[in-house]
Symmetry: C3
Subunit: 348 residues, 3 copies
């Protein structure tokens, strides 16, 4: 755990999130924890009604609870009551465990091409490498060992965690966060079978990452072959995700770990993808579609659909078919019975 | 996009690819783009008949088209006509967007063991680390932060993108390309349950990568436990692929992203794998087999098969079974009707 | 292959593993190989009865065999007979191919914060970066380009392969091994939909890795949001595995490549996971459960279960249902026959 969080009273915290403090409002709170693990100076979280039993026994010093669930608590419990604890939580966490500020300046060992331009307040850790003609916006932080290749453009307040590689001519919007080992703008995967064998199709397209996009550790985003690969604003990718060449991902799309999207597929706005799901190349996934974990899309998906299985169907249909599948043995037995009855009659 | 491509006339380009220029043959072309995105000085691509509608409206200055599809174009369109645009395209792209030459020499910060040997024209970026007894062939390029461990041997004109790690004693053939973050020769995954718990089986085998192999970003290839892991010439792996210890992959095999091959499996020549497919350990996959995306192979596959599903069947059989599965509800209803009819007769 | 292994006689080797040398006991053995590839000075391995045919033809100088299978060998074969060759093998391999010792000291280019503490005998390769307040236990080896961020604590004899990143405040036990490109303590993946769009939930929890844990190349382990992500002692993860925030993995659990475990799931002790399997968030997997490759768990799994398919069932039930599925066509035809017979009777 991050050490030495600040100490604040229950009343202070309630004010901070526009909530109501009840009980021992002067109690000092020194941290945030789950109900099970919270200690007597921690604020515990009561998020779902499903968690109401632990709330009875929790040693938490106080509890963060929604107005809706307040009545399920022992009325003598010290608490902060808010409309939506999920919205209040980040504010409180930020206060207790404020992330360390940017690194101080540019480390001596960072190698920055003279033809590159850095905005004010850019900080770089040890062994960062910035190639020719790169532009980096104000207030961006590049951690140790980051490599930004020639011609790439980074917006303001971008954070590149250690070991990120940005390929040539990639564009990153403002406040983009790339986690350790993310690779962005990789040459796409395309070959032509020629007489001499497999011939690589040069990938000369772009890779454009919108504002507030976050990409998880060791995830890979390819550049376009011709044309561009585009992640629109606020796209969030978890770890080990693969986005192939010429894919477009609509704004606010969220993809869990190990998802893979094949070449030229167009993903709409506000879609959500469970872990290990995938999509075939050259298909369209409509706005707001929800793709269950491990789903494999093989054709276009209308806006607002909820899909499951492989080849994907509506999630409902998929789950129903799976349930039927496990009653197939009984169906076979019923057919056998009918066949015997029929044969017995023929014998009569 | 890569800036400032060369300017060439339509006639120049046609000559370059052995094609025929029609229309405004002196028009200067400055780039290549998809039909939708091409501007008036771009060459647009008409590859499939499926794209013929956009061709009507495309603002492209000229169109690259196959002789077969030429008739679908407006006859006044300036164009280059070739037998196979997919073969002509790489040639044209190479001319417009020639990849930058190798890095100039060995960067001051590269650390190269004195016991290592580098051929002529080898270039290394900042912070490259070459351990003892490494050999690097002529004209190879190692980008920033590449680590080549002791005893590894690299062929000629190898390209290692930033952050590649080559483990000890790995052999890379000529013209091998490893993308950012690829790990080659990793200790394989094998344990024995002994009295004290899980005991690692040392992996002392080799890892041999053939000529013209390409390995995608963040992909991992393990070394052999004893014996070798082998990728034959022209094998192409996409991003985030896993190849376990003692696997052999036949020449010209192409694996899309996130494929995983378990230990000691033998993959034949010219096989093709869709994304997120996998193969169990100790099986054989015959030459020319085609493995659909998300397929899970659990047993040997004959040469020339096309497989799908999990556990894998022929793709045809898999798709047919999936279709039937979604009509199971109707089959159950038909059996219920038969049962009622049968019961009604018994009552008669 | 690692060059120049030591030379030992068959008698020496037998003594070393508490086995019995038979035949030409003074024969010098210079390496270990599979039966197919072993040469006349190699010790070949006869592990399963399934391998007994190659044993007849193997050119191996001698064979390592279990007492159980000894009788299947040509009695004139030189051999070492042991109870369990799988336990003897690591001992012999270790002797032949001893891994190189730790790197000599701390490389000049390693950047180590003055506020960090290193135990005796710690070695660091080139370009290692150790941030503030890190503690590193005795005898640990950090290879080139490793980054350990502020406040992390490493136990004794830890090995971090090149390019590993350890995020802030992570704790690694003794003898932990992280392979190239592993990322440990990554900010977890959690967002709240607020009015301004997706708002990141700060991840301020911990990440605690037990003694003797090994994590494969390019695998990712997230830190807790609040609370901790925990890998207990002797957990072994293969390459490209994803462990989400707040997951607990029980001791001696083994996960093959590309497995993914979603947030807050609790995995018991001694579980085994095949490649590309996954588990939903917030479920419990009982001790000793065996999860077949490509399985997708969507609900709690009792201790000792063997699971397969998606949504997962018992492996037996899954495989049976799959087999029935491929006989569905025949079942449909039988129902059609019954329907015709029934109709024919009605006509009578």
């Amino acid at each position: 755990m991050v050490p030495e969080p600040a100490r604040l009273t229950l009343a202070d915290l309630a004010t901070m999130v526009g909530g109501r403090a009840v009980g021992d409002v002067d109690k000092e709170i020194s941290g945030v924890a789950s109900l099970e693990k919270a200690g007597p100076s921690d604020l515990g979280l009561l998020v779902d009604s499903g968690y109401s039993r632990p709330a009875l026994d929790s040693p938490a010093g106080a509890i963060l609870v929604s107005s809706e669930l307040e009545a399920t608590l022992d009325p003598t419990r010290s608490r902060i009551v808010v409309k939506n604890p999920r919205v209040a939580l980040p504010v409180i966490l930020e206060r207790f465990y404020s992330a360390p500020g940017p690194l101080p300046g540019v480390h001596d060992t960072a190698i920055v091409s003279e033809s590159s331009k850095c905005g004010a307040g850019v900080s770089m850790g040890p062994y960062v490498v910035i190639e020719d003609d790169v532009e980096i916006g104000e207030g961006s932080t590049l951690h140790a060992h980051v490599v930004v290749r020639r011609g790439a453009r980074l917006g303001q307040r971008v954070t590149l965690h250690p070991h990120v590689v940005v390929y040539p001519h990639v564009q990153l919007g403002d406040r983009v966060v790339l986690h350790a080992g993310a690779r962005v703008g990789v040459d796409g995967f395309g070959y032509t079978r020629a007489d001499e064998g497999l011939q690589r199709i040069p990938h000369v397209g772009g890779c454009v990452i919108g504002d507030d996009v976050e990409i998880g550790a060791n995830s890979c985003v390819d550049r376009g072959s011709i044309g561009e690969t585009v992640l629109k604003e606020q796209v969030k990718l978890d770890n080990l995700v693969h986005i192939a060449h010429n894919v477009t991902v609509g704004p606010r799309t969220v993809m869990a770990a190990q998802v893979g999207i094949a070449g030229s597929t167009e993903v709409g706005a506000d879609t959500m993808w469970g872990g290990q799901a995938g999509a075939k190349d050259h298909i369209r996934v409509g706005d707001g579609a929800r793709i269950a974990g491990r789903t494999g899309l093989t054709e276009d998906v209308p806006a607002g659909s909820t899909m499951g299985g492989f080849p994907a169907r509506s999630l409902k249909e998929f789950l129903k078919a799976q349930a039927l599948l496990f009653r197939l043995g009984s169906l076979r037995r019923r057919v056998r019975v009918l066949e015997r009855l029929m044969a017995a009659r023929d014998d009569r």
